[in-house]
Amino acid sequence: MQSMPSMLEESVIDAKERFFEFLRSFRDRTGNYKYRDRVRQMITMGQKSLIIEYNDLYIFDTKLARLLIDMPDEVLRQASEALKEFVESEAPEYAESVGKFHVRVRSLPRTLPLRKLRSEYIGKLVMLEGILVRATPIKEKITKAVFIHCTRDQGCHEFEWPPEGELVGETLEKPPACPICGSASGTFRLVPEKSKLIDWQRIVLQERPEEIPPGQLPRSIEVVLQDELVDSARPGDRVTIVGVVRVRPDSAKRKAIYDLYIDAIHLEVSQKLLEEVIITREDEERIKTLARDPWIHKKIVASIAPAIYGHWDIKEAIALALFGGVPKVTPDGTRIRGDIHVLIVGDPGTAKSQLLQYVARIAPRGIYTTGKGATAAGLTAAVIRDKTTGEYYLEAGALVLADGGVAAIDEIDKMRDEDRVAIHEAMEQQTVSIAKAGIVARLNARTTVIAAGNPKFGRYLTNRTLADNINLPVTILSRFDLIFILKDKPNPDEDRRVAHHILQVHKETEKVKPEIEPEMLKKYISYARRYVRPRLTSDAIKLIEDFYVQMRRMSLESSDGAIPITLRQLEALVRLAEAHARMALRNEVTTEDAEAAIRLMKAFLESAGLDIESGKIDIDIIMTGKPRSKQEKFTRIMEIIEQLESESEEGCARLRDIQKRALSEGIESNIVDEAIRTMRRDGIIYEKSLGCYAIVR
């Protein structure tokens, strides 16, 4: 095998010259001098980095390009000198004003999976892809230190360290002797203000969720960004990094053990959402053939978790959420989300988790997590202190990592308190804002949420409202476009059918075949989300409009004035109809799509938004947690307390009196107790003396 120094002598000697020649004479397909133009552009824009395509260098000089992979430090150093020389010939003043030019290489022919990064790559140039999960704030790193050396005999004098041609590495060490006087004695003092500093940032790159082998932990690696690369990506961004693999001791105690890290020379944020799913020409043909099938909607719904019996509405809602509506940005910059959020609340053993796991498998960029979250960052994001370095990091949570995809959140009712606050913003504005420990950031979370939760009392109590049954604030509940309740009620016929299905699954597992294979379905969804942008037709608009107005009119006609539907549901209807059109790869939302959306919305309202007392649909059950009928009773109870308070000498209303007067108006005692409990909790009333209540003023 050829030794490194001999390789250097044979090949690197003319690297500078060859690179200069590359900049001067490389022509692209159109015959243009690509890099001459780029250098001129770099000068005009006042930049100091030149980005080159690896393939261009490979075609120009295969040997030099291969050497760049094997000995990047040396080749890049010479390339940087060549670039400086080139700039000197074009703009001498600019070349002089910029200390060092950087040559940045992009698009290596091969991406190294993070999992395969081993010691054999140390010192080599590699390209990695992954998600940026953590980032430190920007710091400044000394590249050339200025020291003051003072001795009794010779006084004080300044010098730069390390000497000409070298730069400060990982650690800044005190010079062993003064290069001016040669003396090692006296004091050496660093002058940071006079030293040369560059921007520096440390980030953590993690494998993409879809690349992690089942049952394995995601791998991650630290990446150091310097100079113009700092702050070019945010946690949650999918990035491609080209850099040199380096090592550093993992801790001070165990000096023989080293950690790998990447010294980045180029970073690119992937703009192409959903492009990770590769669709070949054959796939495209199959997708188009499938879309022509008149039964495509049914086929897609039937392909969602075929091992799970029934739950057609929920499966349809999940299918629609996977396709999603079309996000819109109005000219004034307002963003309307296209993602459809679905919540399933159900008794234990109703296959909620299985449904969610299936969703994560077929969704492009699908992530499965639980309410507690797998990392400290939980569902949204967190500022975390690194135990070894003491540095603060901004770490992205599941909703940020699934940006552009689907987050299947199981046990959503058990999420952390911090997430409860941040999820509001994540679900509606589709961003996650954080301001802690000096880190202020807003991360993208354009994620569809498909969540499941367990009832608060173990089983879903039909005589209570939805908000009473689940440990989630109504503000979060109201952000879901569709909510379904899975009740485990014994029914002999249905039970026999379910039991038969499950036993068949156990007997002949291979017979549970989806109509569309999961891999194909994933490609189909990806294709639809990428290329299909349905627009509402006037017929569809009329249908949705009529439904909305008709539902609202019901509130005027009924005596209790319960509001069955609000603008939030209207927007949800549009999203559902768009998603339905997308399912058939249609660019127009037809009446058929609008009808499907309305049917699903009705099913949702009837299951989750039904006021058990009045037997009518009341959206306030989801929007405020209390049906309109109850709200009115609560208001009346407050008025009674107010009246009794003014009538009594004590200045408060006795519980007994409140109950008596309320009963005379047809309000039962249990409602009075509940109202008093709620009003005390909300700070509306207070207990002035034992069993006597007054209004807080």
Binding site: R27, G31, N55, Y58, I59, T62, A65, R66, P109, R110, R281
Partner: protein
């Protein structure tokens, strides 16, 4: 008489020529019928035609192939990955019809360079040719190496182009026959050879 290897390679070429390609008709002409296949030549129509026919129509400026042919950049990328392979297990599969397509593209480029007297095109074809030769050399070395062990042959064969798989199978047969001739009967089928 043609050897089995020749026939197999011809079959691979035939498959390439018969594969359907998306084609755009760019000039109106009468409908043509070839071997029962009716082709309506109407300007602006996009259709799927066998590759040989699409090329014929393209050469007469009646149609345009929609698929993008393999480029110098594509071959350079492949060259990088083939040359980086250290063992047969590192070898990656080539794109479908790679050899046939590369051969056609190089021939077309050479012809264009001659016609247009364009040195850049000539240089491009030369570079492509050099990459192709390197790729073939490297992959042949791996194929020859794999002949020493049947397990490697099995592992490698799924990653070979049809032309390479044909060659590997042919060489394997020749070697077996050769061993049958030169070795005494009880030594012919060692651990690594099948009877």
């Amino acid at each position: 008489m043609e050897s089995r290897l020749d026939i197999m390679l011809e079959l691979v070429e035939l498959e390439y020529m018969l594969r359907p390609v998306r084609t755009m008709i760019i000039r109106d002409a009468d409908t043509i019928e070839i071997d029962g296949l009716k082709v309506e030549l109407k300007k602006g129509v996009e259709t799927e035609l066998p590759y040989w026919l699409a090329r014929q129509l393209a050469s007469k400026d009646m149609a345009k192939l929609i698929e993008t042919p393999i480029s110098l950049e594509d071959i350079a990328r492949l060259h990088f990955s083939v040359i980086s392979a250290k063992t047969p297990s590192d070898l990656e599969p080539l794109p479908q019809y790679f050899y046939q397509e590369a051969k056609t593209v190089i021939q077309d480029l050479e012809e264009r360079a001659r016609k247009e007297l364009n040195p850049a095109l000539f240089e491009e074809s030369q570079k492509m040719m050099q990459y192709l030769v390197d790729i073939i050399d490297k992959r042949l070395t791996m194929i020859l190496q794999s002949l020493r062990s049947p397990t490697t042959i099995a592992e490698l064969s799924s990653r070979l182009a049809p032309e390479e798989a044909t060659l590997l199978s042919h060489l394997n047969t020749v070697l077996r026959k050769w061993k049958e001739k030169v070795l005494p009967r009880h030594q012919r089928f060692g651990d690594n050879d099948e009877p």
